[in-house]
């Protein structure tokens, strides 16, 4: 039973990865965007390293969020082209499996972009950090998961409205505030060379956010996915 479920979810993930490998649409746009934001930030802060150092955690997550929204908005827009979503819906599976498939592939893309943004920041802002940045990996992972848990649901909704992709950030940003707050807090700790355990409450919040919204969104997903 579990193997069959996993296989179905994997089929969707695999489809998304192959599409991405062939078109390279998402990564090109998300990474170019991140690079541009980095440039804008460095101009906006007037190259004063003191300011940048304080603002880095926030800048990191702002870049991540906006780049992520860019990718997410394509997620279901892509399915709408040629009404591919109909194909997904016709497959004899539970709708929540479609959600998990799309969510995991989105999470994967967003996570990779996050992992690229960090060294980019280190490079361009001459980041001097104490200790290791390795604890950032779980933070970005948990951040990505929570972000796409809600984002995948809203992406499916947004493409079916009049405002289309414009609506996605409007729906998503107020909801993910707890996620961003705790992720910024934890990233700040890591950059200061402090252990994650010092931000235990932020970490708990981040994990709670992920679990609550994966469960809630998987349940309500079947009401928003539809053929056009």
């Amino acid at each position: 039973m579990e193997r069959r479920v996993l296989k179905k979810v994997w089929a969707i993930i695999r489809k998304d990865i192959i599409t991405e490998l062939r078109t390279k649409e998402l990564f090109t746009s998300m990474l170019t965007f991140s690079l541009l934001v980095t440039v804008i930030f460095s101009f906006a802060f007037g190259f004063s390293t003191g300011l940048v150092r304080l603002a880095i955690p926030a800048m990191l997550w702002i870049t991540f969020t906006f780049a992520g929204v860019l990718g997410l908005s394509r997620s279901f827009a892509l399915e709408k082209e040629g009404n591919a979503v109909l194909g997904l819906l016709l497959t004899p599976t539970d709708r929540s499996l479609i959600y998990f498939g799309k969510m995991i592939s989105n999470a994967l893309f967003v996570f990779i972009v996050g992992m690229i943004i960090v060294p980019m920041f280190v490079l361009f802002f001459n980041l001097d950090f104490t200790g290791t940045l390795l604890p950032l990996v779980p933070v970005i992972f948990l951040g990505s998961v929570g972000f796409v848990a809600v984002g995948t649901l809203f992406s499916a909704m947004a493409v079916n409205t009049r405002l289309r992709e414009v609506l996605l950030p409007i729906l998503l940003f107020p909801i993910i505030i707890p996620l961003i707050v705790s992720a910024v807090k934890l990233s700040g700790l890591v950059l200061d060379g402090k252990p994650l355990s010092e931000g235990a409450s932020a970490l708990q919040l981040l994990v709670a956010f992920d679990i609550i919204f994966i469960a809630a969104c998987a349940v309500v997903f079947e009401y928003v996915i539809e053929e056009s």
Binding site: L153, I170, L171, I175, I177, F209, I212, A216, V220, Y223
Partner: protein, 219 residues
């Protein structure tokens, strides 16, 4: 029946104004500005009830699929936003002389602010979603997700500030019995006003439905 409710609401509203401005004693430390608290509490109470209603009726709508629940959710959200706007405005007016600022990012205020934005987004979503059933389903989903988000928002604001919130009740700790009376009258008046507005608004929505049905039938 509706007329009687309207009449009672009117009388109670008048009484609550009298209670807030004349009957209740002047708070010694804050002075007259404290009187705004009665309407402040009344509206925030209504907004809370309204948003809980949105959550419950959104779930019921997804479950049952009847238009009744959708209308209730929508109208409730609209009135909730209206009352929360009044809450924020009155709170701001109160805060200026007492705290010396119109706004501060204290956990309660921040949470209220995000709550306000969430339900404005809910209304934006309703406007933007196309056909009726789709609109209703999307809104219901957002209504549920937004409500689940609230405790997390509150926790996150505390994480951000690293402080625990202080509850500013009317007059701090114990309050005079007259103040309590004034507060209760205000709560009752606001509740009835909410009920009245909700019923009227839902009627309006139903009439809109009827009109659309007639139009499609007549071509």
């Amino acid at each position: 029946m509706r007329k009687a409710l309207a009449a009672v609401t009117f009388v109670l509203m008048a009484a609550s104004v009298y209670a807030a401005f004349v009957y209740a004693p002047t708070e010694p430390r804050m002075g007259h500005i404290q009187r705004i608290f009665y309407i402040h509490m009344g509206t925030v109470w209504v907004a809370t009830v309204a948003f809980i209603l949105v959550f419950v009726s959104s779930i019921m709508y997804l479950w049952k699929g009847t238009r009744r629940w959708d209308i209730l959710a929508y109208c409730s959200a609209e009135i909730g936003v209206l009352f929360l706007t009044i809450t924020i405005l009155t709170g701001s007016i109160w805060a200026k002389p007492v705290w010396g600022t119109w706004w501060t990012w204290d956990p309660q205020l921040t949470t209220t602010f995000i709550l306000w934005i969430l339900y404005i987004v809910y209304l934006v979503l309703r406007m933007s979603a196309g056909s009726d059933t789709k609109k209703a389903k999307f809104a219901a989903v957002f209504g549920i997700i937004a409500f689940i988000d609230l405790p997390l928002v509150y926790a996150s604001v505390r994480v951000m500030r690293g402080i625990s919130p202080v509850v500013f009740g009317p007059g701090g700790g114990g309050i005079a019995p007259e103040m309590m009376h004034a507060l209760l009258i205000n709560l009752a008046a606001c509740s009835l006003l909410f009920l009245l507005l909700l019923m009227e608004r839902m009627d309006l929505e139903r009439m809109g439905d009827e009109l659309t049905a007639l139009k499609t039938r007549e071509g």
